[in-house]
Amino acid sequence: MFGKIQATALALILALPMAAQAAKVKIGFVNSITGPEAPIGENLTNGVTLALEDLKKKGIDVELVKEDDTGKPEKSMAAFEKMATRDRVAGIVGPYSSKCANAIAKLAEKYKTPLLIPVASKEEITRQNLKWTFRLSATTYDYATILLDMATSLGKPRTIAIINENTDFGTSGAKSAKDYAGKKGIRVVAEEAYAPGSPDYRSTLTKIKSKKPDLVFMVSYVADAILLMRQSREIGITPQAFLGAGAGFATVSFAKEKAISSNVFSSTQWTGDVNWPGAKEFNRRYIAKFGKEPTYHAATAYESMMIMAETAAKAGGNQEKIRSALKSGKWNGIMGEVKFADYEGYTNQNKHQMLVEQIQNGVHQTVYPPKYVSKKPVYPFPGWR
């Protein structure tokens, strides 16, 4: 009994100064730290690291609970449950990939813990009428539409071949491309879903070459993006344009492979030279700290952590209050304007403006929409060197 009183007193003493500051928050962060998606996961981790620095400057002390999902949905779910029940975090940011995000979106509902998904873009995630799940990034539908909008504004493509990884992100991206191509009057001549990690796509690509598509649209993560382009060059596929739906095509390691990456278009959520408040500054700081350029993943993770931690701090960690504050709030940061709205069957979905970049001379340049252009696009594809 005495021990209990002592403990309560101790807890009170410890709790009091915190309550006075009202700025210490516990936030969970699920990410693919190891596993095949780790190279992209690293960008998210770095983005969050910068966010924590900035939050500290604003007087918000974040206690970060980090969990690794190794790219597997079941691990993501276990991590979410642990953070929601044992760590009792105020809110959770993450995870990276669509398959993981889709798996835990429903858990947010069950545990009434706000979840802010930075970049996983499978459409269905925010289409299940979930009240506790928010998404900052645009969806796969936008990955496809912005690219096709650009292609039709620059040329007159009539046919398209779609190659995608058979994961949630890949399938969802391919489906959107197919839908939107139909609306634009572009005929789909080939659809190939592949299992990632195979060393040989030549036979698939040969089949695609025989269909002579005007556009080749690919949805792939890092390494397969390089492999597909390398083997496309080998086989000699020359469409009007190669379109990559973000992910692997937006990475620096892809851009560095100049022989195969030149003139490839990629849709992206963010670029380092876009004129959203603080974007250029973020780009500069990131390079200074981590020695490489940030991808859009880093920017979305940064902004998500900023939004979640600030909201949670203001709400004093009360989850119901955080949820309504996220719902009603408005932000304008490195990802441009952010507002979680309900529209076209989506709930808590930020209507984010996608960009298109093109790799020119090993560097990503923003080429579309015209409002954000940093370099003129090269179209059609000038052929292999």
């Binding site: 195979s198 040969t206 083997q231």
Partner: protein
């Protein structure tokens, strides 16, 4: 027709490398009856070796094999002597745990040292190819196939004609009898694991100009190596060679005619069929 030939040839070329991975695993299994779950990770170590020999010393990946092979042999021999020899008499599940553990240590150690970034080894011929009757043949794959074929021939000769080779085969056939005949089976085990490791490392070196390199790359190949080995018959080198090429071709043709997402299904259906009609594998002898 062009598409069929194209996929057949791509399949055979990539199958050659698969065969090399399978042969390594099958030798290890044959001699020690230990299933090496770290096989893919040995391949990954070979890839990293090749990558750094290329980027730091500018040694062509195909030439660097002469360095990678003996190094991987020593590494494999070391692993055998220090770790695996201790558990040869242990329960199979304990052996599996040990090899899985070794694999994890390798992949995570590499990740710690070189980060999880994808590494791409780009030579000026990495995506070069030439045309024969409208079929494009990848130059690096063709070279690696030729090297694989050469290595396999030398390996056959070694196992069939040399004393050491015969001793290895004897150990594989009956470990106790071999020991009674005065064969140093512990040493044979070290040589066998060394051979297996160096073949895996060589396979890694051969595909690194056309593939990508990251610490977890091994798991894909471990699975493939198992399928190849079991398909060909556990312990049979001819079987592993056949199995490798068969899997390569099945993947490639399956990818074209059933869609890329289905090629694994094609491979595994084929695998099941073989096991159904010939449970010991293509070249396998009955269970021992």
């Amino acid at each position: 027709m062009t598409i069929f030939l194209q996929s057949l040839i791509s399949g055979i070329l990539i199958g050659g490398v698969y065969a090399l991975i399978g042969i390594g695993l099958t030798i290890i299994f044959g001699v020690m009856r230990v299933i090496n779950f770290a096989h893919g990770d040995l391949l990954m170590v070979g890839m990293y070796g090749t990558f750094y020999l290329f980027t730091l010393f500018n040694i062509d990946p195909f030439i660097s094999i002469v360095i990678t092979m003996p190094l991987m042999f020593l590494y494999g021999g070391f692993l055998q002597k220090v770790f695996i020899n201790r558990i040869l008499g242990a329960l199979p599940q304990n052996q599996i745990l040990l090899t899985i553990g070794m694999g994890l240590i390798m992949s995570n150690g590499i990740m710690l040292a070189f980060t999880s970034d994808y590494k791409i080894l780009s030579t000026d011929y990495s995506s070069s190819s030439f045309d024969i009757l409208g079929i494009s043949i990848s130059t690096p794959l063709l070279i690696s196939f030729a090297i694989t074929a050469g290595i396999t021939v030398v390996l056959y000769w070694f196992l069939l004609k040399t004393d050491t080779g015969q001793a290895i085969r004897a150990t594989a056939q009956d470990r106790e009898a071999a020991q009674l005949m005065g064969i140093n089976v512990k040493r044979m085990s070290i040589i066998a694991f060394g051979l297996g490791a160096s073949l895996a490392g060589t396979a890694g070196a051969l595909i690194s100009p056309t593939y990508y390199i990251f610490p977890q790359v091994g798991s894909t190949f471990t699975l493939k190596a198992f399928v190849i080995t079991v398909l060909g018959g556990m312990g049979s080198i001819v079987g592993a060679t056949l199995g490798g090429i068969l899997i390569g071709v099945a993947e490639s043709i399956g990818g074209v005619y059933f869609g890329s997402g289905w090629k694994e299904v094609v491979v595994f259906v084929l695998f099941l069929l073989v096991l159904l009609f010939k449970p010991s594998g293509l070249m396998g002898k009955s269970n021992t």
